[in-house]
């Protein structure tokens, strides 16, 4: 056993740690002291980050005494065992380790590698519960357990080969999936064995994890829970400032499929943030409109508790972001009312496909929220708008936005009709031929139509991002794509009969 050896190192190290942090009064648990005795030297970066965190500044017992508006802990009580120490390494990595498949003996301590929402909920139960009802927490299954979506992912990540004038595609290997879609959606983290490694502390044994590292929003953790709080609340500083800044959202919401951050950046709101945000207070809880910030970031409208200077609540905090979102703008073929359940793999349209609309756009109503719920969510969202804008302004903006949902859906229907014609006339192979609907060039143009161009146009409308609705992956591309799909179809059809004729001639 190495424990005693470590404990000797511990003594001098702790003194160093505390002296450095200038926080000699910090109440560390004995276990966390033991962690720091090695890791403050082995991993100085994360220890230094943690020391800057709120977790390292205040005990849960003190934190819970704050007024309701100021509290960052949503638990009514915290367990006595946790209340009197700051939240250090051991408080998370050793909490209920026995429930975590990746728990292991680490130098005499029972620890787990992957901290999960089930650990965080000890102090933050409301957030964990709300987040569990959010689409994001189901992002793994919503992609991997939906046959249509899985097939899209396979068509992107699969490796293609070429022989005899034909291409073939083989299913993607797991590492490619992890490096691609799953990076944001979240992986399934499992223990697949053990390994022994020579370390500065001697030979030690560690679990080997598949799907690791990963911080995706819908990660399936080794304790069976879903989600990764550190996707947004970055380890080990867990800075609310960082979660509230738009860069956090941009990690996953910046590409052509979901250009939310880019649109924010060129919006008036984003401009104000870029130019004047340096003087804002991103750490205040609650967040006071006008005093702390003078324009919204992503978190302002979608997550945070907002008050005015009289501490009147403008918007409640929510980690179930769908609460304020009547329409689903992205990721699906047509924009449609938001799904009722965060688990969208359960949806089936009339045609039997796991999609919230038919291929021709009609919604699958039993899985989607109704107009009453949409109205409620619209009102909830507009509360933050109305802190700076008149109702007339907001109504004008909303009318334009819902019109754009309608017109982009119309443009997608047109592209879809061209694709359906291509399938019918044999220019491409689709559902009837039991072929992937994502693997041919015309199908890929169709995917870009809704996944890139219609999405971008709608987001630009929602967040007022100008050119992202026009020339930057907006209407210009919707318009051009239809003409290019038409040309493709025309070329293909004109050349098709000849091929058959030639074959016939040959067989004569």
């Amino acid at each position: 056993m190495k424990r005693w050896g470590s404990t000797i190192v511990l003594m001098s190290s702790i003194i160093f740690v505390l002296a450095k942090s200038g926080a000699a009064q910090l109440k560390l648990s004995e276990n966390t002291e033991a962690c720091l005795s090695c890791h403050s030297q082995l991993h100085p970066g994360i220890v230094a980050e943690w020391k800057k965190s709120r977790h390292a500044q205040i005990t849960p017992g003190e934190a819970i005494k704050k007024s309701k508006l100021e509290r960052r802990i949503s638990a009514e009580t915290v367990p006595d065992a946790l209340a009197h120490h700051i939240v250090g390494c051991a408080e998370c990595h050793m909490m209920n380790s026995e429930k975590h498949q990746d728990h292991h003996d680490h130098n005499g301590f029972e620890v787990h590698i992957v901290v999960s929402p089930s650990n965080c909920l000890t102090c933050h139960p409301t957030e964990v519960e709300q987040y569990g009802k959010n689409l994001m927490s189901h992002a793994y299954g919503n992609l991997m357990n939906n046959s249509v979506y899985r097939s899209l992912a396979d068509s992107v990540n699969g490796i293609q080969s070429f022989e005899n004038m034909k291409t073939r595609i083989k299913p993607p290997d797991p590492e490619t999936n992890l490096d691609s879609c799953i990076y944001c959606h979240g992986s399934e983290v499992k223990v697949k064995g053990k390994t022994s490694r020579e370390t500065t502390m001697g030979q030690m044994e560690f679990p080997i994890l598949s799907g690791w590292p990963n911080q995706g929003v819908g990660r399936i953790n080794p304790d069976g829970s879903k989600g990764s709080c550190t996707a947004c609340h970055t380890r080990h500083q867990f800075s609310i400032e960082m979660a509230r800044k738009p860069y956090t959202c941009s990690e996953c919401h910046k590409g052509p499929d979901v250009p939310a951050y880019k649109i924010y950046e060129v919006s008036k709101h984003g401009n104000i943030h870029s130019a004047l945000g340096k003087g804002w207070n991103f750490n205040a809880v609650p967040w006071t409109i006008g005093k702390d910030i003078t324009a919204p970031t992503c978190a302002t409208c979608h997550v945070s508790l907002l008050v005015d200077e009289n501490k009147e609540v403008i918007s409640e905090r929510t980690h179930q972001m769908g609460d304020r979102i009547p329409w689903r703008l992205m990721g699906l073929i047509y924009s449609h009312p938001h799904p009722k359940s965060p688990d969208t793999a359960i949806i089936k349209n009339k045609a039997g496909l796991p999609l919230p609309t038919e291929l021709t756009g009609e919604p699958a109503p039993m899985y989607l929220i109704d107009s009453k719920e949409r109205e409620k969510r619209k009102v909830a969202m507009q509360k933050s708008c109305l802190a700076c804008h008149s109702q007339g302004w907001v109504d004008g903006q909303w009318t334009r936005f819902e019109n754009t949902i309608k017109t982009t859906n119309e443009m997608t229907l047109t592209a879809t009709k061209i694709l359906l014609t291509a399938w019918e006339k044999g220019a491409a192979k689709g559902l009837a031929q039991k072929d992937s609907i994502f693997n041919e060039a015309i199908e890929k143009k169709w995917v870009e139509h809704w996944l890139f161009f219609a999405n971008s146009t709608r987001y630009a409308s929602a967040m007022v991002g100008a050119d992202y609705g026009v020339f930057a992956n907006g209407r210009w591309y919707l318009s051009k794509n239809i003409q290019e799909m038409m040309d493709w179809l025309e070329f293909k059809l004109q050349n098709q009969p000849e091929r058959k004729d030639k074959k016939k001639e040959k067989s004569k």
Copy 2:
């Protein structure tokens, strides 16, 4: 009448407002006090912004006493009625309301919603006058009253449908235009009726505005004036810091059609701004090169009053940005000498099209500035360059830039010749067929040639933005696009005769 009720609310509110702002000495007009009595609670965000503004810190009467270089007011005198109060809500929203179509009785006050340059000119007449001679102030008409440009907009924003193997396009609805091109170009704001709304102050009547909200640079206001100062001087802080930072320009100048901001960002100047700009003084008037900033932002070269540390003027302030721009780089088929008039809808080339050049590139000289004026503008622009660079450096850069204007025009001519051939040979329908020149796939490739790739290459040259002249929408795409246009034409021509033959056979 609700006025007395409000006045009671007013008393306690004013105390709150002033206590909060820590500016009890602020000289509010009585009307502004009345506005704040409600709106500081209804719209805490904008009131807080305004309190941070210079408008809320100093009366025009005090401001006008500053030395000429330091003055931000260009009026020789300010009306006595305005001189002794700070500039609050009422000073703008109630100024000459009778001239504004959107004026209305608002709780006993005559207010208008849309503040226009005609209001701002009371204190800032030089800026309003100069801006009126700027292309930007005419951005609405230059798009909507130019038949070629209008037709481009229609081809982008119109909704396409598909039936019987043909696509059709219907003209865009007004909401789509507002959400698209018009967002930056500016809308025509008109009163289209009245509505009554239940508010926290009881039932109230408001005008319904079409084209609202909008802050586009060429907005047609309800008082008939053109432009929107808040496009760049964002309400309600009107921060000069914000107008001088490049993010403001990026709201409209970031997409592939006009990638000025993106190019700035990767230029050496942009790099210096990103890395070291946090220590710069963006609020100083005049702006001292070297002391306040060590590299330019957009405003530095195009707008601001620049001095050296001895207060010697390097560049005069101008809101007629064209004053320093000899060549028009963007938006048109060919780069050409800058137009004489900000109203470009008056231009007609020899072919009768409202374009500053022929389709083959020859300029329409009577509408464009001559070489003498170009030289004058070049010298004006280079004044800011020469504050940090030698004449040899600047000459080297300028030679390269003008060469790039020439070569990108040549590449556009090549693309145009391919298109003209497609029209001649019947592969596409163009001017002779009285068809839109923007609606077919080959035409859209042609548009991207000049609107995206040639523009990007020229901007990259002007502002030294490296890859935006090469692989990031630069020469790579110019080169590739020509080959793709050729292939398209070849495929189309090869397949065309057969179609006709088949049709003949059918008709036999």
Copy 3:
């Protein structure tokens, strides 16, 4: 001779300069005093920048006394003539001027315009020597002296014309090259004559430089040396803060061909930098992980001297960045082991092409580092990772990264096979026809395959940039491009025979 006249101006100017800088104790050399006497008024911007530089704060004689970890000077001694003055204009622009082709008499002083690494090495010999072994210092020749790469550049920068249904391309003019590839790769700066210019100091003579201005990383200087330190250490502040911030790298590493900065920006590391970097210390030498920064920038992993809070070295400083790079990810057709020599124009594959792999992907081993050297470099790189991450985390990441190298190479092989087939079947003209392999549409699609999409996917994997490996120029485009290349080939082959038939008919 104007020298005496200037000296009179000098007296008052110096007083001004020093008073302004608040650094009356600065020990200026007599020559630098003379420079400043005019240039502080002529070029206030650069003089102000220089005054903020470390060069203007401390003499080399003082700087060299610092402890080894803190020293920014790598020379063991500095020449006595330089030791006792701060480093001003003359110390660089007059150092060994006789060796510089661009030296000239300037108002009685012998100066050269282009300061080169040969000047910098007086105080910074280790950095200059290391940089000389870096690919970057050979960036000019690696492009211009490699026939394949030169041909790619020509295909991008050459001007195409259209006549008789054919396009032609003429070689690019020098100004276009300077405005394009050469901007980053570096130009060849040569004296091509002299010019006389009227200046504020009267008529003066200056050398005319070709290839100027340019700050490219592999610039060939008028003294024959290679490289430009100011590419990253921007004149005249030479701020280490700036060099360490990612914006500097983004000047050249942001486009679709090398999207390193964009990927960093959306990575977790980039997010931490964007959100919390404002509180970091970018000026400290050595750079302390945890204390000065809590996440890496480009420089952290690739260049800088890193220590922990106990001053234990984590990574040594290097300006030979390849030292930590086992695999070359970008710019070439296939990713492959890093080249041994920074001069890659010497490489020849088995097919006789100046490429580090065959067209089918097999490496040219004698020019590339072996597995032992790759292992060494991997360990060197991972040192910075391990300051914050466990070995298990890092191994998981690295496995994924090397898998992505393999799969992207497979996808490139597939695209290459399609192109080889197109050449074989006469659908396009390639090596066998002694035609450019970059000038036809299908060839350009092939170039984008590896130069944009495979590169982006690999970088996204290396730096964990999510969507840049999927929809933002990642696997989505690899997958789509193969299908589009297939369609192109199919269309071309189907139409080919007919053309020949028609020609035969005509000739009958």
